[in-house]
């Protein structure tokens, strides 16, 4: 038993719903009690879908438990077939139905429905949403796809995009055009927008583009083995990754590695002098493994940030992220405990968080800017505008998205120079953000904020005390670098066995860490 306040992933049957809802002419019969229909609103409200997810819930109640929940399932499955006449049906159980062991898969098979019925085994008490999506997509592909003659033109399948995914809709468009530039067509996009008949055609492609390993890696491996479809290993988020991706595709297809980068603006935007202030910004990364790995490379190599911590919530990617973290010289945080992530962020005091919508709330609480790079996402992460993460336009979008939460170049300097100005100070917030600036009384001295760090710290084993004058001097440093200055000074002091930090120590440390 484990106490959870917020979860990064839903149960595995929600993953199955993400696949079913993304597809067309597929229906999901879910053995589940009343209340599990809440999951519909994830799709109709958060993603603003204009149709109900294609899911029939058997809706058993306490009084059915002693009686005949199995029959309830059969009736629901038959009614669903007759009403929706799908090309294929997936059947499974939610967490409660798993306990009553009705075997929906077995029952559905004996019903003689005239379409393929694909049973799902999703262990609710061991696995989570991403597993559910990955396993469901794999089962559908395994049941319906067969080896086929390859298309005359070179084509690829785009695999992995689902309903409720982070920018999946726009990533599909971007990659389709990127492949078109190389003279490569798209055979099937799946599960997003695919019918079961489309799934059956997947074997005609020449290779698979694995867009999101979280939701399609198992299917990709199976198709590699059974349908002779190699799959791409690079996720084309960020300029370097796009180039690697293009090289990978060129190697599969024998085509030249063409990349039309005439619309690519990230490298120049990053190189232009206005971006100098981005140098060494301390960022913390958290999300699903795939997006975190891509963001780490982009943050360090293309934005010039310093990655001070990274982690992922999906254990399936733990190994990758641990390895990557080592390369970046940081500790990987593999957890789905929101409170642990909050603690890690608080301790590292980064200048920006690149995370999920959960970290957006952590950032709000701690006063740290945050940009979203990964699911789980909320309604504002489904923008009306075209806003991919992958490909050329994805890189441009990411540059803007990551810069937006920060205080901009000259403004940062002015804050530093005149930080006691009554209407232009730390608490006023970045001037390009919409919220109301908090003005100070014109003649009031800034009130010293009580900070936990006023207490002696024991982090490094040595108790370090800030003398009042040093503490005052520290507060002259703008808030967005104050955390870094405080940590650096304390580490500097601790390493030298200094137990009291004076103004002198502060500037000694500043000189020591100067870049």
């Amino acid at each position: 038993m484990k106490l959870t306040v917020w979860t990064y992933e839903g149960p595995p049957h929600v993953g199955a719903m993400r696949v079913a809802t993304a597809m067309k002419d597929l229906h999901y019969v879910l053995h589940a009690p009343q209340g599990d229909t809440y999951a519909d609103l994830l799709f109709t409200m958060i993603e603003r879908r204009n149709h109900r997810p294609p899911v029939t819930y058997t809706t058993f109640q306490a009084r059915d438990l002693g009686a005949d929940t199995a029959n309830l399932f059969k009736t629901a499955a038959r009614d669903a077939y007759e009403r929706f006449t799908p090309q294929a049906i997936i059947v499974g159980a939610s967490c409660t139905a798993e306990l009553i062991q009705d075997d929906p898969g077995g029952m559905a098979e004996t019903m003689g429905l005239p379409v393929p019925v694909i049973p799902l085994e999703l262990p609710s008490y061991q696995r989570k949403e991403n597993f559910g999506a990955d396993e469901t997509f794999y089962q559908i592909v395994k049941s319906l796809a067969t080896p086929l003659q390859k298309t005359a033109h070179v084509t690829a399948n785009l695999i992995g995009p689902t309903a409720l995914g982070f920018r999946h809709r726009d990533d599909i468009t971007e990659l389709t055009s990127l492949l078109a530039d190389m003279g490569i067509g798209v055979n099937v996009v799946a599960p997003y927008g695919a019918t079961p008949a489309d799934i059956a055609r997947m074997g005609a492609a020449h290779f698979n583009v694995l867009m999101y390993p979280e939701t399609a890696e198992t299917a990709a491996r199976w198709m590699e083995r059974e349908l002779d479809l190699p799959y791409t290993k690079t996720v084309p988020i960020g300029v370097g990754a796009i180039r690697d991706f293009v090289a990978e595709v060129a190697a599969f297809t024998g085509r030249s590695a063409t990349l039309d980068d005439s619309r690519l603006r990230l490298p120049w935007y990053s190189a232009s002098v206005d971006s100098t202030y981005l140098t060494g910004k301390r960022v913390f990364l958290f999300g699903d493994g795939t997006h975190v790995a891509a963001a780490a490379r982009l943050a360090r190599d293309e934005m010039g940030f310093e990655v001070v911590g990274m982690g992922c919530y999906n254990r399936e990617q733990a190994r990758n992220i641990r390895k990557l973290a080592k390369d970046y010289g940081v500790e990987a945080l593999i957890t789905d405990d929101y409170l642990e992530v909050e603690q890690a962020i608080e301790a590292l005091a980064p200048e920006m968080i690149l995370g999920t919508q959960m970290e957006r709330h952590i950032g709000k609480r701690l006063g740290i800017p945050c940009a979203v790079i990964s699911a789980p996402v909320h309604v504002q992460d489904f923008p009306a505008r075209y806003s991919p993460q992958m490909g050329i336009e994805g890189a441009n979008v990411i540059f803007d998205t990551w810069v937006h939460p920060l205080v901009m170049g000259l403004e940062e300097h002015l804050l530093h120079m005149f930080r006691d100005d009554f209407e232009f100070h730390d608490d006023a917030g970045a001037s390009h953000h919409g919220h109301k600036a908090k003005l100070r009384e014109m003649n009031a001295t800034p009130t010293p904020e009580p900070e936990a760090a006023d207490q002696p710290r024991m982090e490094t084993g040595v108790a370090v005390v800030w003398l009042p004058t040093a503490e005052k001097e520290l507060k002259k440093i703008p808030f967005f670098v104050r955390g870094k200055a405080r940590r650096n000074t304390e580490n500097f002091a601790a390493e030298r066995g200094v137990s009291e930090i004076s103004v002198e120590t502060l500037y000694e440390a500043k000189a020591h860490y100067a870049r």
């Binding site: 959870t4 149960p11 209340g35 809440y38 999951a39 958060i46 967490c95 008490y125």
Partner: protein, 426 residues
């Protein structure tokens, strides 16, 4: 304006269409979203699955990150296989929780579908934990599981579980029952207080130490129509129910107050003195929104059990025509007075088979459909104007000063549809 005492032929004995099938409704756990804000020193610990945790953070459509006073003890494989003693595991998690949150005075262990199916004895757990953590912390259990409760029935189960723990009193008193937004509760207490009615106690109270007691001289008025079990539990404690229409709209509020005032022998003169001004205000406010609603048809999908009292309000005070009024349950003891006041005509449906009900809604093409979040956007996309039902539970809508807001919740979607234009100007 028709007088509320005019009866005519109401709907109490109208035939009820009982349906059984897929239900597009929340389970009782959802009530925790507002209960945990209402009871400020209470923590709601759901003993359940990842699905329960996911529901709680998704249900309201928003996440409340300001120190939530609810959480889920997620059952794992080892708990199910009997490898770990669930009671010990629970005791450990509760111990940790109370250590981290010493401000918690009431802990609710909330049963879920999985905990009910594996027959985890939360009553026993609550007793043991009360003995260990009492008297500082009182531990109570109730079920919010989907196999036993629908949406607002979670609040009912919670309040019903509290009733046996209330101290006994012989005092003649009024109890208001139901978790209301603070602003609404204060208005109700003020109106009743000015009539000279008292003492008044409220269930649930904001804090564990606020005295709430009950006994044979307690009379109680429900402020929500979904409190059937709580009604029964209070009756078992000897308290007497004051049946009344629910206090929605000017007429509903007046009828509800009148019933309470009659119980306490308040004169017509005093009643008029206290209510005349807010009544007039409420009428004016409702009339404004009602201009848009007049003669429009409305179709209710079952959701919170507020459907019947709200249909009464919309048909009597806003001039709407009810096509179908669906409710998860119809407790005539509670909503009978509202049904008495409704003109014959609408279909009353209890339970749900969502696909069949959608067929009926599509055939009727109502001007306004009141439904849950899972159905609203799909129906909008089909050209039907909808009102999300959950907002009716999350917004202050009771009593006089909110009557106009209540009508406004229904008129806004209609006004919005009329407003939006994206075609060329020609």
């Amino acid at each position: 304006m028709k007088d509320v005492t005019e009866t005519g032929r109401g709907c109490r004995n109208a035939p009820i269409l009982k349906e059984r099938g897929q239900r597009e409704v929340f389970c009782g756990l959802t009530s925790i979203i507002w209960l945990h804000r209402k009871m400020q020193d209470a923590f709601f610990l759901v003993v359940g699955s990842r699905t329960c945790a996911h529901l709680l953070q998704s249900a309201a459509g928003v996440m409340i990150f300001a120190e939530p006073r609810f959480g889920t003890a997620i059952l794992e494989e080892t708990d199910l296989a009997g490898m770990a003693d669930a009671q010990d595991e629970l005791a450990r998690e509760v111990g940790r929780l109370l250590e981290r949150r010493p401000d918690i005075r009431q802990l609710f262990l909330v049963g879920s579908c999985p905990s009910e199916v594996i027959k985890l004895d939360l009553e026993k757990a609550a007793e043991k934990l009360s003995a260990r953590h009492g008297p500082h912390v009182r531990v109570i259990n109730f079920s919010g599981s989907g196999i036993e409760t629908t949406f607002t029935e979670g609040e009912d189960a919670c309040l019903a579980a509290m009733v046996p723990t209330l101290p006994e009193t012989e005092e003649r008193q009024l109890m208001l029952v139901g978790a209301l937004p603070d602003v609404v509760q204060d208005q109700a207490l003020d109106l009743l207080g000015r009539m000279g009615i008292g003492p008044i106690t409220v269930l649930p109270s904001a804090r564990a130490d606020d005295p709430v007691d009950v006994g044979p001289n307690t009379v109680f008025a429900l402020t929500q129509p979904f409190l059937g079990e709580t009604h029964a539990a209070l009756t078992r404690r000897g308290a007497n129910h004051i049946p009344a229409p629910f206090p929605f709209g000017e007429q509903g509020t007046t009828a509800w107050l009148r019933a309470v005032a009659d119980e306490f022998g308040i004169s017509d003169e005093t009643f008029a003195q206290v209510t005349d001004a807010p009544r007039a205000r409420a009428r004016r406010a409702v009339a404004q929104a009602a201009e848009v609603l007049e003669d429009k048809s409305v179709f209710f999908f079952p959701d919170s059990q507020l459907e019947i009292p709200l249909a009464r309000f919309l048909t009597r005070e806003c001039g709407m025509q009810a096509v179908e009024v669906g409710a998860p349950f119809i407790h005539k003891d509670l909503v009978g007075p509202d049904m008495d006041l409704m003109a014959e005509g609408p279909v009353f449906a209890e339970g749900q088979d969502v696909d069949l009900q959608l067929d009926r809604a599509r055939a009727a093409r109502p001007d306004l459909t009141v439904c849950g979040l899972g159905l609203a956007n799909p129906l909008e996309a089909e050209g039907l104007t909808t009102k999300w039902a959950i907002e009716l539970v999350f917004t202050p809508v009771h009593f006089y000063e909110q009557a106009g807001d209540l009508a406004g919740l229904f008129s806004r979607p209609l006004r919005r549809r009329a407003l939006l234009r994206t075609e060329a100007a020609e």
